[in-house]
């Protein structure tokens, strides 16, 4: 357990030193702040646009960090051959993979928390500068705590993407790992289309295969409640728990898979 914590701490320290991570979070915060300008271009809906942009920025930047940093966790160590010095210590490959994963998840969650704080600061300013008569048109209050549900599920999604990135990076090249991770993200959001493919195509086999893919792949659209919270629609705790539970199972599966593949890998 201590070895895992040390490796996770190392990943976290590396990510703090890494200026790209800072840059991305800063970019996301600037995007949220600039949403004020974007909202001026349209007929009202300023609060909706600010919320949409904030949630999309947090999700998109998080996806980028989870994918690219997640892939680098194992491959960089192998390429630099620094893995030999790590594994020469009393650290198993299982501890190495789990530690790396937890370190990046910790970084992502802290980044996400910073983005949440910036997001609410922007909305607080909007709330402060908007006359109360205009607020009656809002579907949900600017500082609606319901939006934390969307951020929580973005966090779960990023945890899953990180696990996916690590899984692919244990056996394929960095480029292919990026492509495969993005493919999982896209397919994960196509759940309903895959399930109902039989209503679009005439083939007998394709819908069967698609349905199989639908059940094997994680359903990421279940984690997407961004639109619902922005419109002030209810998001049930049960559906959140079910979606999170399902994702945790996928994360566990991917990590076990990563450990199995990485343990059998010849690093010479």
């Amino acid at each position: 357990m201590r070895s895992i914590a040390i490796i996770a701490g190392g990943v976290f320290r590396d990510s703090i030193r890494d200026r790209i991570g800072y840059g991305l979070v800063f970019f996301s915060i600037m995007l949220m702040a600039s949403s004020f300008l974007l909202a001026q271009l349209t007929a009202g809906q300023d609060v909706k646009i600010i919320k949409d942009l904030g949630l999309a920025a947090a999700s998109g930047i998080g996806l980028f960090i989870a994918t690219f940093f997640g892939i680098g966790l194992v491959t960089k160590e192998v390429e630099r051959r620094s893995i030999y010095s790590v594994l020469s210590k009393p650290v198993t490959r299982t501890q190495f993979v789990i530690g790396k994963y937890l370190g990046l998840v910790l970084t992502l969650l802290i980044n996400l928390s910073i983005m949440v704080a910036a997001f609410y600061a922007v909305l607080w300013y909007l709330d402060l500068t908007t006359v109360s008569s205009a607020k009656t048109a809002w579907e949900a209050p600017a500082m609606d705590p319901q939006m934390l549900k969307a951020f929580a599920l973005i966090g779960v999604e990023l945890m899953l993407i990180t696990a996916t990135a690590i899984f692919f990076s244990t056996f394929s090249s960095p480029f292919l790992s990026v492509a495969l991770t993005f493919a999982v993200y896209v397919v994960g959001h196509f759940g309903e289309d895959l399930k109902n493919l039989n209503s679009i195509v005439k083939s007998m086999v394709l819908p069967f295969v698609a349905k199989g893919v639908y059940y094997v792949m994680p359903n990421l659209s279940a984690l997407d409640v961004k639109s619902a919270v922005v419109h002030g629609l209810p998001v049930s705790g049960t559906s959140m728990l079910l979606a999170t539970g399902s994702c945790l199972l996928y994360i566990a599966t991917l990590l076990v898979g990563s450990v199995l593949i990485f343990s059998r890998r010849d690093l010479k």
Partner: protein
């Protein structure tokens, strides 16, 4: 040997400033001298709402915002263009994609239907598309009485179908949370000789229930247009009286102010002079007026 930091002389700093000033200067020189390519008409690469919804993977709401901004900008650009043949063809596809990406985008249905039904040249004058858009909103959120109200409004104001308008109002009145004035509104639009009163009532209610300033301003403009129509009725009556007295229509407002039938040259509620046609004796708002064109004059 290149591993230690080097302190550059002041020369490089001066060079940096000079180069920056020169580069900025070159931009000023270039400005206006470059041949600008002709503006191409806007092209909407993705026409299918279904395809756009799939392409957006997880970022549907932000794409809906982008398409809504595009729709509003497209409408505004087209309306303000000096082109004699204003083309609003892309407005409905843009609104269709917006509402497919975010099916709960209330303002896109409500304000979109106002934009679509607005008479040419201020809008495409596509009342049927406005109804289609509102019907789509009703399919997504069946309990929003506002969509029924807006559909009734479009039917009454733009297609002059009082029966269809009343049907929409009655359907909306049955929904939970619908205001108590919606059902009487159906009776008002069906009442004979009550057209202007009904129209006024519709605009007043639209302004009162507007969720946004833009809709409220559109309603206020509608009310001013009704006032202008009432003025025009009186002014045309005066022109006809002039004809009966002098055997010709007045050449201008001066003829009427000269004989004290009018105290001053009449202006519409937006502050622009009314236009009098000396041949037919008809009166209209000026094409420069924000109230132009009046619905009664475009029939």
């Amino acid at each position: 040997m290149g591993t230690k930091p080097v302190k550059h002389s002041g020369f490089l700093w001066v060079a940096l400033v000079v180069l920056l000033v020169s580069a900025t200067g070159s931009q000023v020189v270039l400005e206006g001298k470059l041949q600008r390519p002709a503006l191409l008409p806007g092209v909407q690469w993705v026409q299918s709402p279904g395809l756009m919804r799939r392409v957006a993977v997880g970022f549907n709401a932000i794409w809906a915002d982008i398409y809504w901004i595009r729709a509003v900008q497209y409408y505004g650009d087209t309306k303000l263009s000096v082109d004699g043949k204003k083309n609003y063809d892309q407005l409905y596809p843009l609104l269709d994609i917006t509402t497919s990406l975010d099916p709960y985008f209330s303002i896109a249905y409500r304000f979109g239907s106002i934009l679509l039904s607005e008479g040419y040249p201020n809008g495409p004058g596509q009342a049927d598309q406005a109804i289609t858009l509102l019907e789509k909103g009703i399919r997504e959120t069946p309990n929003r009485w506002q969509y029924y109200h807006d559909a009734g409004f479009v039917k009454y104001w733009w297609t002059r179908d009082a029966q269809a308008a009343a049907d929409w109002f009655l359907k909306g009145a049955k929904l939970p949370g619908a205001p108590n004035w919606l059902e009487p509104l159906a009776a008002t639009v069906l009442a004979e000789h009550g057209e202007r009163e009904a129209s006024r009532e519709l605009w007043v209610q639209l302004a009162a229930t507007a969720e946004h300033d833009w809709i409220r301003k559109a309603a206020e403009r509608g009310l001013k247009q009704l006032d202008a129509e009432a003025h025009i009725e009186i002014l045309e009556g005066l022109a006809q009286k002039f004809y009966d007295t002098y055997g010709r229509f007045p050449n201008g407002w001066g003829d009427l102010t000269g004989i004290k039938w009018l105290r001053r040259i009449p202006v519409d509620p937006a502050g622009q002079f009314y236009v009098l046609d000396p041949v037919t004796g008809t009166v209209n708002v000026s094409p420069r007026s924000p109230l132009y064109p009046l619905r009664s004059r475009t029939r």
